[in-house]
């Protein structure tokens, strides 16, 4: 059932020009950045050759590329998630799902899987670029895998938050703006942490930051604490979304 709902979501996404333009624009920008990083790498390669234990292509090209991808996703995910539930409400097509023999959890999970599948496609397309480096050199595959996993966890937590905010409103644009605001706040929340002075408070704010957990993956560190953070984040917002849909029937 979740598969049916996810496929419908994915099909509708690809029937709208939005999905295609997002794919094109993101791919174009990241390709440009990728070329710039490769250029830099080639320029400093003579110096790297003189160093002991010099950073490789994975650290100098792949990690910054996915860092930028994470930042771009933060802006793009709200655009893709904004319509998920708010538009169904606005078109009243949500009645179809409510009167069908499916549970609220299946509706939320179906939509979630659908939109995450879209970002899997997008990430796969981006991943092709660093993979092309294999024709000319080597990559640290373990490090590379950690980075890709990090980006996937990052984007799935973005999507969960976007989905929840979309379930709160009838206006897709309101959902987009609030999702973007919430994500941006969680991205930069640790900036304030440095200035609080209080070590405990600063630690908490740093822990909350979406970016900090991703940085570990970018360094090639696979830590269960960071994986748990993203999974927890995703679960919380999916459960909130299910609760919100349930509440729909109780009051209007």
């Amino acid at each position: 059932m979740i598969g049916t709902l996810a496929l419908r979501e994915l099909r509708s996404l690809f029937l709208s020009p939005l999905a295609w333009s997002v794919l094109a624009v993101v791919q174009f920008i990241l390709a440009y950045l990728f070329l710039a990083h490769v250029q830099d790498f080639i320029q400093i390669q003579p110096q790297l050759a003189l160093m002991d234990n010099a950073p490789g292509a994975t650290q100098l090209i792949v990690a910054p590329l996915y860092g930028s991808a994470g930042f771009i996703f933060m802006m793009v995910v709200p655009l893709m998630t904004m319509r998920l539930i708010s538009e169904e409400r606005r078109n009243r097509s949500i009645a179809l799902l409510f009167s069908a023999p499916v549970s609220m959890s299946e509706i939320i999970l179906g939509k979630y899987v659908g939109v995450v599948a879209f970002f899997l496609v997008l990430t796969a397309l981006i991943t092709l670029m660093p993979l092309s480096l294999l024709t000319a050199g080597t990559l640290d595959m373990g490090h590379f895998a950690a980075i890709v996993l990090g980006v996937l966890l990052l984007v799935s937590s973005f999507a969960a938050l976007g989905l929840y905010l979309s379930s709160l409103t009838v206006q897709p644009t309101v959902a987009a703006v609030s999702s973007f605001g919430a994500l941006l706040l969680l991205w930069i929340i640790d900036w304030a942490g440095d200035k609080v002075g209080n070590a405990e408070a600063s630690g908490l704010l740093t822990y909350l930051s979406l970016l900090r957990h991703f940085e570990a993956f970018a360094r090639g560190v696979f830590s269960t604490a960071d994986v748990a953070y993203y999974l927890l984040f995703t679960t919380v917002f999916l459960v909130l979304g299910i609760r919100r849909l349930d509440a729909d029937r109780l009051q209007h």
Partner: protein
């Protein structure tokens, strides 16, 4: 009356904040019945439909569909219902075929049976020719039909249609009504509308809801009987005195209207029309008009909804 009704609604109430949209509504739907739900705007029709189909939770009350409690086993109960809301719940970016296939899967029709179910639903709703077209490009009438096809695709025991003929042209309205009557033979149908003749044409039983309360519930035959006339309007070239008319056997009361016209009141089922005609001819009054007055469904509707008196009779 059969022992297990398809839909049984008991003491249903629904409040929006302080506003009671539906108060203590109880009714049952038997197999093979088309139940018309009538009421003025804002009477609570749509709210009741939404509750029956699980789109809204009731504040109080119990609903069973085919013997399954809607609140305790929502999935099993919803599998027995097809629902067309006021605005058909369509995905306009899909084609009719894609949409109906999705609906079939959503209603847990097995993958290998989906094509057959889609074909059957299209056939019943006259959609064969538009299967490959985008729903967004269809006319309002066809979109409405897609909405009905969606509601019957899993051959549910109960089909709930909320104002299915709104915004259609007269030919489409007739086709949809035929379809509804047709559905009534296999499924139980609940039809909500504020168009009175529609009820007379399609329904076997009528319920009138007003200000959240059920004020009338009876078979269409009884409703028709209620509409029977108890007045005659007569017009003469040489009008006699009212007393002379009142003297005719069977006439209970005479009302004098303008231009030599009179309204004669009589007991239900005992029209004095032949005697009036006879008397008029023998006395040379010059009878030029003799019409039994029909009470329209509108009048009955207004009568019922404008009085506080509730008719809660056994249906």
């Amino acid at each position: 009356m059969m022992d297990s009704p398809l839909v049984s609604v008991q003491h249903l109430s629904r409040a929006y904040g302080h506003l009671l949209a539906v108060q203590d509504v109880s009714f049952a739907l038997q197999k093979g019945e088309v139940l018309g739900f009538l009421g003025p705007n804002g009477a609570g029709k749509s709210t009741t439909m939404q509750i029956i189909t699980g789109n809204l939770a009731p504040t109080e009350g119990r609903i069973t569909i085919n013997g399954i409690d809607l609140l305790e086993q929502p999935k099993a109960a919803k599998a027995e219902i097809g629902y067309l809301p006021e605005q058909p719940p369509l995905y306009r970016e899909l084609t009719v075929d894609e949409y109906l296939r999705f609906c079939a899967r959503l209603n847990r029709i097995r993958r290998d049976k989906v094509d057959a179910a889609v074909r059957r639903a299209k056939e019943r709703c006259g959609l064969e020719a538009v299967g490959r077209r985008l729903i967004a490009n269809l006319s309002k009438g066809y979109q409405q039909r897609v909405g009905i096809a969606q509601a019957i695709i899993h051959t549910p025991a109960v089909v709930v249609l909320d104002e299915p003929t709104v915004g259609l042209d007269p030919i489409q309205i007739r086709e949809i009504r035929d379809l509804i009557r047709d559905l009534g033979t296999e499924h139980g149908v609940i039809l909500s509308t504020h168009i009175l003749p529609e009820v007379q044409m399609t329904c076997s039983r009528v319920q009138i809801i007003n200000q959240g309360r059920l004020v009338f519930s009876d078979s269409i035959e009884n409703l028709n009987r209620r509409m029977d006339t108890t007045t005659l309007v007569v017009a003469f070239d040489h009008p006699p005195a009212a007393d002379e008319l009142a003297a005719i056997e069977g006439v209970e009361r005479v009302e004098e209207l303008a231009d030599g016209r009179f309204r004669l009141h009589h007991a239900p089922g005992e029209s004095p029309a032949p005697r009036v005609a006879e008397t008029a001819v023998t006395r040379g009054w010059g009878l030029r008009e003799l019409t039994p007055e029909h009470k329209s469904l509108e009048q009955i509707f207004i009568e019922i909804t404008s009085t506080e008196h509730a008719v809660e009779d056994a249906a």
